[in-house]
Amino acid sequence: MNGKVHGYGGKMTLGERLYLGEIFRGLGITIRHVIRNLLHTGDLPTVQYPEERRAYSERFRGRHRLMKREDGTPRCVACMMCSTACPADCIHIVAEEHPDPAIEKAPASFEIDLLRCVYCGLCEEACPCDAIRMDTGIYDLAADSREKFWVDKDFLLNNTTDGTR
């Protein structure tokens, strides 16, 4: 269905200037679409969104998650690299002493304001311990109040990569 494309201000032929024939040509094109789509409803490119989802690249940056050590505590050492790198200033960390003397610090609280986040991934890159990742694949963020987008440490620790929350 590649029609001839005229440049702006190009000369039209007499047939095109009579307009009527071109109208019927256009009508023919649209009715072909209707009939094809009526006969093959299944082939429409539309994704039936909540039920069907488009497959995203593995590098897609979805909602963040905090990684865990083997014993289940956060891997984060509260070095503040991520919150320093964050252009949106939306990571808020309060550090505390870690019980294990081999580790210097741990986050007492780790909160992200997802409404301010621009999903740039700089936090991921800045982290020296690979403690924060954006590989959950979750992109449909919806809530009925702004407060619910202010997510805390427990929430982030429990985000998974399989698309469920």
Binding site: I23, G26, H33, N37, P45, T46
Partner: protein, 424 residues
Amino acid sequence: MTDLVLTTFLKMAFILAVILGLVPVLIWAERKGSAFIQDRTGPNRAGIAGIRLAGLIHPIADVLKLLFKEDVRPAGVHRVLYALAPFLVFFVSLLTYAVIPFGDYLEVGGRRIPLVVADLDVGILYVLAIASLGTYGIVMGGWASNNKYTFLGAVRSTSQMISYEISMGLALMGLLLVSQSLRLTDVVAGQGVLLWGFLPRWGVVIQPLGAILFMTAAFAETNRNPFDLPEGESELVSGYHLEYSSMKFALFFMAEYTNLVVASALIATLYFGGWNIPWLPRAVIEARAGVLLPLLLAAHVAICALAAALYLRRASRERGRFGDGRDREPGLMAGVCVLLGLAGLAALALRPWEIGPAGASLLATALQVGAFVGKVVFFCWFFIWVRWTLPRFRYDQLMHLGWKVMLPLALANLVLTAVVVALV
């Protein structure tokens, strides 16, 4: 006298039922049709217990939403005119229907009831007069809303209507010369014969240029794309009904579609033979009713069987696709189709080939009304089809087309027709 009143009311009820029943279907066709033209799926979500009817439930949801919406009245509106405008638009859009014949006659108990509400002998003049009244509602709505966008929409609407009404009237005059009558029933009856024995003497055959001009003008009169400048959402937000909400907006919206039905009915009546079925005049239907009716019933059964089979195939293909009530839909629809088919079979068992003369007359009437409604539905679809094919005119192009192209063409058509009619 009471008879006349009763039959008139029944005819009005029939027409109202058809038009108002068509409006939600048209809104659905507009959304679904545009979706298919643009390779989308269109409405398919709203449903009652999983029954979605390919989106036909959406208009119900729309109506409920509009009914319960707040009716906002902006500050500074002219209260009376603001409230009156949507009613006027809707009312006027229904008025034209009074003179459009939707069938030949209905024979009940030996009496023949003509199937037209008011068989005015100035029918076409009445149509033109009412068509120009429609502008008033738009102008009132646009002006009384106290908003410059609505006002601009109203101004555009007026200039457009005035420009295109002239060519519309002139195009119609050519038809008048041919049919020699202003009465719409005569115009339709005159289209029932064959030209040279094989071509239906439809308006479009003897007045092809007039038909094209009239249809173009009808598009302009109904403010449909490519002539929907009064609404022009790209520059006027949404034109004259911008400030309306809730049911007042719904009335404007419904008026657009009733106008569509009326314009389609006019095109069908004036140029496409009205209720005439080509090559199948009433006498033939009545004489051959014993063959036609069983054939029709058989076709009905076959179509039902085909539809049921398609639904069953879909049911088996899409089993458990959604995991809720929607999965039941194809099976249920297949059941409905089977029931309809069985009803057809039952009717076949009633010996339809022994249909009497009264029944034959009834069948002829039903077929003719069916043909008329079919033509109207086709032209409604045509309006929708054109809307999603063509881009909107620019304002100067619109005026250029109206005054410099259509008006001379309509005049030439009129002169030519007059010469031919005078010579023949």
